[in-house]
């Protein structure tokens, strides 16, 4: 079921390469949550401009610093001179534009550099669309990520911490940087105790089937806890698919080099799976074709 959302917010539903953008109306002003992927920034600015209908975009708030959520920040700043507000834990990574910490280099992704104007910390409250939202720490997919929760309307803006079907790849676990599995579980437990009627996820449509989403998410984290190789394999497939969405198409004979050019895929394989390069590419090819994340057209692999 599609939830009924307040009139003071509008979800610009995007795809997988660009995260959803959520626009909040505040009289003559407006606030946006997340800005999509950099190659889509022109459309993001146009969509926001159309929805603003003469209002002024004064603030842009991010849930976390992955490329599909911050890629339009620079373009929106240039177009609207809005204040950019990011989760406090990301201050250094953004200020220094640390392409490893921002996962740009490991995943072979691009972004456009921006500077934030201020920080928001877990526990803070922010008014958006005439409603009060609590910033909640949701470590797991990203250790510094924030979700935004409105107790009055029982709405959660979950970013990539929870989707209708699963959650974002648990990168910190795979990089050996933090106990990402444990944090993901604890984040899900914390969120599942909140009274929620509607979730606006980072990707996919807003949804009201909350219990089912938590059931799927808990089932999935249990699978990963029992079998870390499953997480590693899932992450490689997602990483390659995402990179292909940006690339669009590639000659079949160059696909292997493309996979090897993604440090994340190579590192995760070396650390968790230990497949030979040929076996890795063959398996990625086979499984992405199977789920239509790749299509073979005239000797070219095309993103699904």
């Amino acid at each position: 079921m599609t939830p009924i959302l307040p009139d003071s917010l509008l979800v610009l539903e995007r795809g997988w390469l660009s995260a959803n953008n959520i626009l909040f109306f505040e009289g003559e002003q407006a606030t946006l949550v997340d800005s999509g992927y950099v190659t889509h920034a022109g459309q993001t600015v146009a969509l926001v401009g159309h929805a603003l209908a003469g209002r002024q975009l004064t603030r842009l708030v991010n849930t976390h610093s992955h490329s599909d959520h911050i890629g339009g920040n620079a373009a929106l700043k240039a177009a609207y001179d809005c204040e950019i507000i990011v989760p406090a834990g990301l201050h250094a990574a953004i200020a220094d534009w640390d392409e490893d910490a921002l996962l740009l280099s490991p995943l072979g992704q691009q972004s456009a550099r921006f500077q934030h104007d201020s920080l928001i910390s877990a526990g803070a409250e922010i008014a958006m669309g005439g409603l009060n939202w609590q910033a909640l720490a949701v470590p797991g997919h990203d250790m510094e990520a924030l979700a935004y929760y409105c107790p009055e309307k029982r709405i959660l803006i979950s970013g990539d911490a929870l989707w209708e079907n699963g959650f974002g790849v648990i990168f910190p676990e795979l990089f050996g940087e933090a106990d990402g599995l444990l944090h993901t579980r604890q984040t899900l437990e914390m969120l599942s105790r909140l009274p929620i009627d509607a979730i606006i996820p980072g990707h996919g449509r807003p949804f009201a089937s909350i219990d089912e989403a938590f059931e799927r998410a808990f089932r999935r984290i249990a699978q990963f806890e029992n079998n870390i190789e499953q997480l590693a394999w899932h992450a490689i497939k997602v990483g390659v698919s995402f990179a292909m969405l940006e690339r669009r198409s590639i000659p079949r004979e160059r696909f292997a080099d493309f996979v090897f050019s993604l440090p994340f895929a190579v590192d995760v394989n070396a650390r968790f799976l230990g497949m030979t390069p040929d076996a890795l590419v063959a398996k990625v090819e086979r499984e992405l074709l199977l789920v239509n994340a790749l299509r073979l057209e005239d000797g070219m692999f095309v993103a699904g």
Partner: protein, 72 residues
């Protein structure tokens, strides 16, 4: 509100200046903007318009021309 129809977005999210349509999903800026607030009746209206534009542009395959997807 019942809205089960899926978004036609295929992650090629760039507007064609001449036609005013997204080169990936053939929707106007307004149609993309209102999608999440649209019920299935409105969505099927948009999807029908998308199908019609596709046919008019490239009747044989219904795919956008190669040039128009080349956005790198």
């Amino acid at each position: 509100m019942s809205a089960m129809l899926q978004s036609p977005c295929i992650n090629i999210c760039k507007m064609d200046a001449a036609s005013g349509l997204c080169i990936g999903c053939w929707r106007t800026i307004d149609e993309i903007t209102v999608w999440s607030r649209s019920d299935d009746a409105a969505r099927s209206h948009i999807l029908a318009a998308v199908a019609r534009r596709r046919m008019e542009n490239e009747p044989e395959t219904g795919h956008p021309t190669k040039n128009s997807t080349d956005h790198d």
